[in-house]
Symmetry: C2
Subunit: 336 residues, 2 copies
DNA sequence: CTGAAAGCGCTAACAC
DNA sequence: GTGTTAGCGCTTTCAG
């Protein structure tokens, strides 16, 4: 119980072997005589020895740590993916260093610097649209990285995600099939966020194919939160807009719209239809249940972890990287 | 854009100063002549130099990294606290290494080992009840740590949280005030989880004061999830139990119960009342809105970050560490 | 205020 | 298989 940390040299001395053998016993046990292995293990046990990660990292140039940089950590869609990410990395003996940039470009750049400084083995980023400074840094240090969530607007080969454009397109097609022509959009900030842009673009294309144009004053940009959705609907009503459907960029916003509808006594889908995007667990519990796009967030987390490790360890990647994001029809869009 | 990482020696050479001066220019800029500082900064800029964290950590014995070990990362209550934690650490120049143990003792021990190995400066743990091996390890290496969420069942001085016992007691008092005597409990696994235990104990005390005893067959242990809550209600009904209220250990479970009530056509609070615990954002949006205990999860994250940093940097701690967790009355418990 | 030099604890050749 | 040794890149005395 003393605070002085035992070193590998202590272990080696106690085990009566050399530093090198002690090191090998721990990292490549099968390159060591069983007897040596055993005496080292006993010494480790006895001293309560724990490796010094910094020294190991310095000497081996590996940290066994992967960093992930997310927009926010408490959006359920990201939280789910982080959970899967952490589990998968853990299963492979890696740790997770985590940061968020709150959708701010300069925060992202600072975070990237800090991450490179900590010397992680690989990096996971959300989305394909990043400040040049971030990608420059990552390239300069030849840090293996994967882009997640989106395969839109990029030629980078290591993306684990789906086409937000296509998914939004398919959803909007269903909205049109339900006879809607008075359509409002509740989206979020699009700068540095190709997912938000692709979702709007996909929606716009589907509507355009039916000759429906989006009115600028019916297109709102609000935060990705319940309150954002509530605010959007209030704004719409204040402007005298009377859409028959609100297509939301995320489930969080859609649920906010639903909640505001209840407050205002608006029947969904009777008077107004609402759609979301993400298919968080909650989307199936709302009143009415939410029509949305299913985003495989756990799967994205797990696969991006495996993929970045394949990159780090220079192994061939196994997983399919483009995932499905099917439309999930529920009552908030009404019935045909 | 070459992969070879510039070292401090390169910087020093280019700046025409010694290694030591270059180092000082970066870490203690005011102990260096302005001119030296400037030429070092120029060299850093020019080489795109980024510190090698492993070397810095090895030499200085500081990693500027704090680890947090949570039960799970995607429970909204933890996700919120992680978000606050990360933000606060970031503001102080620290990174966050994160792990989860999924409520399994051996996973927690392994995670603790891995964390100690990575050599973090401090540690944040959820709850007061941990496997002895975890605390032994942490003590052996004199790793500063804070316990969060709970101040129940411990004498450890560095706890940031609230009394789960008291909060549950207060909530149960309100339930009794509403005339309930047929009371079911929907809790979670209690092993290694003093929060769950304290919540049941607090509830039990309040009921006992009114001469109400809990029937063992009306006390369920289910996962901390929507599905857990649904399952609990189904089980209760199958057993022929007809409670007038279900007191849930967490909002997630309570919302599951609410959802199952809707499925089964049970009116809340007309036929059955439901209470939660946590006051996640969602609790205010359910039908009916949920009576629950407000747990200040952001505040816990922020304060525990500040507190562990105070410990790490041997500064006096500023914040009050025992927080309020008020009962929030909403419609799911009915009206008096 | 600055330069020189001694490590921090470990890995990875290299020779035996 | 094993021991020896030379660093990994930085911080931190210690002189000056």
């Amino acid at each position: 119980m003393k605070a002085a940390r035992a070193t590998l040299a202590d272990v080696a001395r106690l085990a009566g072997v050399s530093l090198g053998s002690a090191s090998r016993a721990l990292s490549v046990p099968d390159q060591v005589k069983p007897q040596t292995l055993e005496s080292v293990q006993r010494a480790v046990e006895q001293l309560g020895y724990v490796r010094n990660g910094a020294a190991q990292a310095l000497a081996s140039r590996k940290t066994r740590t992967i960093a992930a940089l997310y927009p926010t950590l408490n959006n359920p869609i990201y939280a789910d993916s982080i959970q899967a990410l952490q589990q998968t990395l853990w299963a492979h003996g890696y740790q997770l260093l985590i940061a968020s940039h709150e959708y701010k470009a300069d925060r992202e750049i600072d975070a990237a610097r800090a991450i490179v400084e900590r010397g992680v083995d690989g990096l996971i980023l959300v989305g394909t649209d990043h400040p040049p400074a971030v990608l420059d840094l990552v390239h300069q240090y030849a840090l293996p990285y994967v882009l997640t969530w989106s395969v839109d607007n990029t030629h980078y080969p290591h993306c684990v995600g789906f086409s937000n454009f296509d998914a939004a397109y398919r959803l909007a097609k269903r909205v049109v099939e339900h006879g809607h022509t008075d359509i409002a959009l509740c989206g979020g900030a699009m700068e540095g966020n190709e997912r938000a842009r692709a979702r709007v673009a996909g929606t716009r294309k589907a509507l355009a194919e039916s000759g429906i144009a989006l009115r600028p004053e019916w297109m709102l940009e609000v935060p990705f939160s319940f309150e954002g959705g509530r605010h959007a609907l209030r704004t719409l009503l204040e402007r005298g807009a009377r859409p028959s459907v609100v297509i939301c960029g995320t489930d969080l916003q859609a649920i906010g719209v639903l909640d505001e509808c209840r407050t205002q006594g608006i029947d969904v889908p009777g008077q107004l239809s609402v759609t979301g995007f993400d298919d968080i667990e909650l989307a199936n519990i709302t009143h009415p249940p939410l029509t949305t796009v299913h985003v495989p967030s756990f799967e994205i987390g797990a696969r991006s972890a495996r993929h970045v490790l394949a990159l780090v360890e220079a192994r061939p990647a196994q997983d399919e990287m483009v995932l499905d994001a099917p439309v999930v029809m529920r009552d908030s869009l009404g019935r045909l």
